[in-house]
Amino acid sequence: MKLLTSFKKSFLVSIWFMFLTFPIMVIRVNPIEEIIEWRWWNMLLVGGCSFVLSLLGRYFLEKKELMAKRVADSGVIATTFKKRLFEQRAFAVPILIIISFAAIIFPFIFSTYQTSIMTTALIYVVLGLGLNIVVGLAGLLDLGYVAFYAVGAYSYALLNYHFGMGFWAVLPIGAGLGAVFGLLLGFPVLRLRGDYLAIVTLGFGEIIRLILENWNDFSQGPSGIANISRPSLFGTQLGLEANTVYLYFIMIGFMIFTIFVVNRLQNSRIGRAWIALREDEIACQAMGIDKTRTKLNAFALGATWAGMMGVVFAAKTTFINPASFTFLESAIILSIVVMGGMGSIVGVIVAAFILILLPEYLRAFSDYRMLLFGCIMVVMMVFRPQGIISNVRRTYRYGNNKGQDINHRETEEV
């Protein structure tokens, strides 16, 4: 009976979608030649696909609800894999060892291409972790994060072009400039909340890109800057393959460093202040937290990571132009943070790998690549709205353990 109704509903859905996609999927006109092409086959395709997908969607949503209900009824939460991973040393350590081993041998067993896209994914992991400070921890919706990424990339490109400065010399400069721009954006938007903040940050991102596009004397405009040096290893320039591997390990290092810093920050006095700010701005201030400083801290620190990654990005592609720093880029980084589960380090890492590697592996579907990508974003949000891994708050040991506090277990240390 239930099956029948869900069949019926899916049938109606498929009728609806056939209607909905009719003009765009079925008719194709060539106004210049005045030819109309009727592609009825597409209509059948849409009908069939939407029927099957609707059935599947119904089944999974039902299952999801059932699961939630069962958990609520029993009151007992089964030990999930995730929980074990985070809470049981004996379980987490071997997995960590496997992952690090895999990370080390990766570039030696896979092709340069694989290493190269993995490096890109790692860049986005770090960007995601950086934005996570601003959005995930401090709760400030930033849609212009890519601006700081651009600042970093251009500082390396320009310093390299004009003064021949090397990667390692510019890295701290890029980070510093990122932080400065973070503060620059931070000051005017201190009073703004929620979505007003979002649009101003979006505008800021666009302003930076437009300046890079228009100010030819400074940035060489839309034709960009070419022949940026790749990073050197103790003063020697490596070949392309070796350099790809080298960059990969630089990024692995960066990722570990970032995880270390972000993890420590989020469980510190500053990190708690960020989270409190996110949870309730008024109460946060009433508890003696300086809102202005806390917000600026978050903006500046978030931007620092973007600045550094910008330098790495410029070194990796060896060519940059303003087209790489569009709003879509910010949106992707934001998606990484939200999809990962706001504030969760492991979540951000997983989401970055999915969102960045997915379009690469979807190349097999050629034309349908971005269509599937958009589709997957929607589906993931519908099925896991709280993100892949929801953040677990750290628990502390307290009471009689005189001495140090370092004994406590850190959830989420990777």
Partner: protein
């Protein structure tokens, strides 16, 4: 435990994906021709015709038994015209054992990718990357193109405006993008150097905006007697239409991006009298006619931008293999520079810098709804 199983499944799918793409590169019994460019995103319309052109050429050749006894295989990769994607695309093509590349489409993406091809001694030939640096700077020895560079086009536009139209006050407008702004920059410099006309306005417009009346008013106020526009047809048609509707008779000179049938269709009667540079007339070239016809038959419409250039590029590359009998970098370079090949663009070869000899621009004017070459 269930989510653990899920994780394992996901991981194994990824691993399989990784390995299978590696396995694909094992055989070497075919000639692998990469086609890279924007096949999705906002610039897809400039990349997709190239893929189609390459497909037609390769189909023809394979039907005739291939080259040197080998079939030609196409490896088509999208770079969305973004430099960072282009590096990944290039690396991927090389990992798959590509021998030659048609692409990339945008100059920026091309520059980013060229270093990677150069490192593996692979030749790339772009049908559309017009940035002069690509051939003039000497940084990209493995780069060739079947389209003239921006400065050549700008030169033609400026000479035409000064010598033939005898304009005195010129407004130079561009779309702030790679191609348009690069061209406009050259045009402005040539005009200023000549000293024979004044550049009364030099400005960029935002591509894709809903209305251009403000810039049109500004042109009107500048009292320019002619406009040189660098950019593509969507914006050009909007500007021309708004100008003509406002009863402005200012002469409009533009580039290859505007010499497009969509422009004629969109601007309609307002397009009358517009000048645009474009590749030399190919309406009598039998290869061009056949190539266009093939496209029309297969896709039911006129081919898009850079279709013939891509057709020519694919032919030129395959011809070089045929003539040199090798897929070796040095042999191919030599063949490209010495051998002429019949293409839709005429009989072409390449100079030392990589620019095509025999590919040039002519000036066209819209007369009675069609582009007519101005002799």
């Amino acid at each position: 435990m269930k989510s653990f199983v899920k994780l394992i499944v996901i991981l194994s799918i990824m691993v399989i994906g990784v390995f299978s793409s590696r396995l694909g590169s094992a055989s070497d019994t075919t000639i692998k021709l990469g086609v890279a460019g924007a096949h999705s995103g906002d610039l897809a319309s400039y990349g997709i015709p190239t893929v189609r052109a390459a497909k037609f050429v390769v189909k023809d050749i394979n039907e005739k038994g291939g080259i040197l006894g080998k079939k030609v295989e196409l490896l088509i990769e999208d770079d969305v015209c973004k430099p960072e994607m282009a590096t990944n695309t290039a690396t991927k093509l090389i990992s798959e054992g590509v021998h030659l590349v048609v692409g990339h489409i945008c100059s920026g993406a091309t520059k980013a990718a060229m270093g990677i091809y150069n490192n593996s001694n692979i030749i790339a030939m772009s049908p559309s990357a017009t940035n002069p640096d690509l051939t003039h700077s000497g940084d990209y020895p493995n780069f060739y193109r079947t389209i003239a560079s921006d400065d050549a086009q700008a030169r033609l536009e400026v000479d035409f405006a000064l010598d033939i139209l005898k304009l005195k006050k010129i407004a130079v407008i561009h779309d702030k993008q790679d191609y348009g702004k690069g061209l406009a920059e050259f045009a402005k410099n040539f005009l200023e150097k000549s000293g024979r006309a004044e550049v009364v306005l030099y400005e960029g417009i935002t591509a894709g905006a809903v209305d251009y009346s403000a810039i049109v008013q500004k042109i009107k106020r500048s009292k320019a007697d002619g406009i040189i526009y660098g950019g593509y047809h969507p914006e050009a048609s909007k500007i021309v239409m708004q100008m003509r509707k406002k009863r402005m008779k200012t002469i409009f000179i533009s580039d290859d991006g505007v010499k497009d049938d969509t422009f004629l269709k969109v601007a309609g009667k307002y397009a009358e009298g517009v000048y645009a540079t474009g590749p030399k007339d190919v309406s009598t070239n039998t290869i061009a006619v056949a190539a266009t016809e093939a496209h029309r038959k297969e896709y039911g419409k006129e081919p898009g931008a850079f279709y013939l250039n891509a057709y020519a590029a694919t032919q030129a590359l395959l011809n070089a293999i045929q003539k040199s009998g090798s897929i070796n970098y040095a042999d191919l370079s030599k063949a490209l520079k010495t051998e002429y090949v019949e293409t839709p663009l005429g009989s072409i070869s390449f100079d030392d810098k990589g620019d095509a000899i025999g590919v040039g621009f002519s000036m066209y004017q819209v007369q009675n709804g069609v582009y007519v070459e101005v002799k």
